[in-house]
Amino acid sequence: MRAFEKGADGVYLVGCLEGDCRFNSGNLRAKRRVEKAKEILDKIGIGKDRVEMFNLSSSEGPKFAEIATEMTQRIKKIGPNPIKKMLKKAA
């Protein structure tokens, strides 16, 4: 939330594959919190697609690159964070 408040256009979380979390269920909890964040972001007009959760194992370098690309393209399509205008004004 703070990231978006500061003007981030998109935020993505990357966690271990489900079932492989080093901390057991940290990735599952994170998934639910991302879902909650999506709900809030939609309600306040920022948009739920700006935040996303991805799962992969730390050895999957290429996949990581794929995810980065996918997310960047998605955000480019959606456009900049709508609050950036107000932030610029305030600055």
Partner: protein
């Protein structure tokens, strides 16, 4: 503890949307435990509301403060220094806290940010359920430690009713039939014959019906 649920953000926005200087006040006790109004929830809500108003092109100052608890005047006093900076206070405490703040700062608008639901406990992280209705005259000793007033939808003292099905209340499969629980517990205690004892008509004058209540301890009063 008192269990509460945060109000839908749309409802909160409707309450505060005409104001420009808002203080969101959380509470470190019950609403922290049920994750409705503690410091974390205050932070998330404040962030969301700031973004909402920025998106609308409106300049709104939203500050955050979390008190030890809001049901004690000495903690509510801690806001006095900064209170004049704000038009409106949004309290995320239970109904008690909201009222104590409103009482301490009668010239400020105070709005509730949570719906206070019941007195209950944690079944597991993320799940809280009702256990006590504050009837003012505890009968748990007669019902094997399970309260039929809080847990029976009809507060029957000599239940179950005909709607009890496979241990669940007629209202929902998610609600245990309190009387089934009592019977199970009596069995475990080897006291199923106690079931035949008729619990007499209750004096409800000690609960809400008798009017707003007070407890006074003369021996500890200042």
């Amino acid at each position: 503890m008192i269990v509460a649920k945060q109000k839908p953000i749309e409802e909160i926005i409707t309450q505060i949307k005409n104001y420009e200087k808002i203080l969101i006040v959380g509470c470190n006790e019950c609403v922290t435990v049920c994750e409705a109004g503690g410091k974390k929830e205050v932070g998330i809500l404040a962030s969301a509301l700031r973004m909402y108003f920025m998106n609308k092109g409106k300049k709104v100052d939203i500050d955050e403060e979390t008190l030890e608890r809001q049901c004690d005047r000495e903690y509510v006093e801690k806001l006095r220094e900064q209170i004049d900076k704000y038009d409106v206070i949004l309290s995320l405490a239970c109904g008690v806290g909201v009222q104590f703040i409103a009482e301490a700062y009668p010239n400020k608008l105070v709005f509730p940010g949570v719906d206070t639901c019941f007195m209950g406990g944690s079944e597991e992280r993320g799940a809280w359920s009702e256990r006590c209705q504050a009837c003012g005259k505890c009968i748990l000793g007669q019902t094997a430690g399970i309260c039929p007033i809080a847990r029976c939808a009809k507060r029957l003292l000599n239940g179950p009713c005909g709607g009890s099905t496979r241990g669940k209340c007629e209202l929902s499969k998610d609600i245990d039939c309190a009387w089934q629980l009592i019977i199970n517990r009596l069995k475990e205690l080897g006291r199923l014959d106690d079931y035949e004892r008729l619990i007499p008509i209750k004096d409800w004058s000690t609960e809400r019906a008798g009017g707003p209540r007070k407890v006074i301890r003369e021996d500890v009063r200042q």
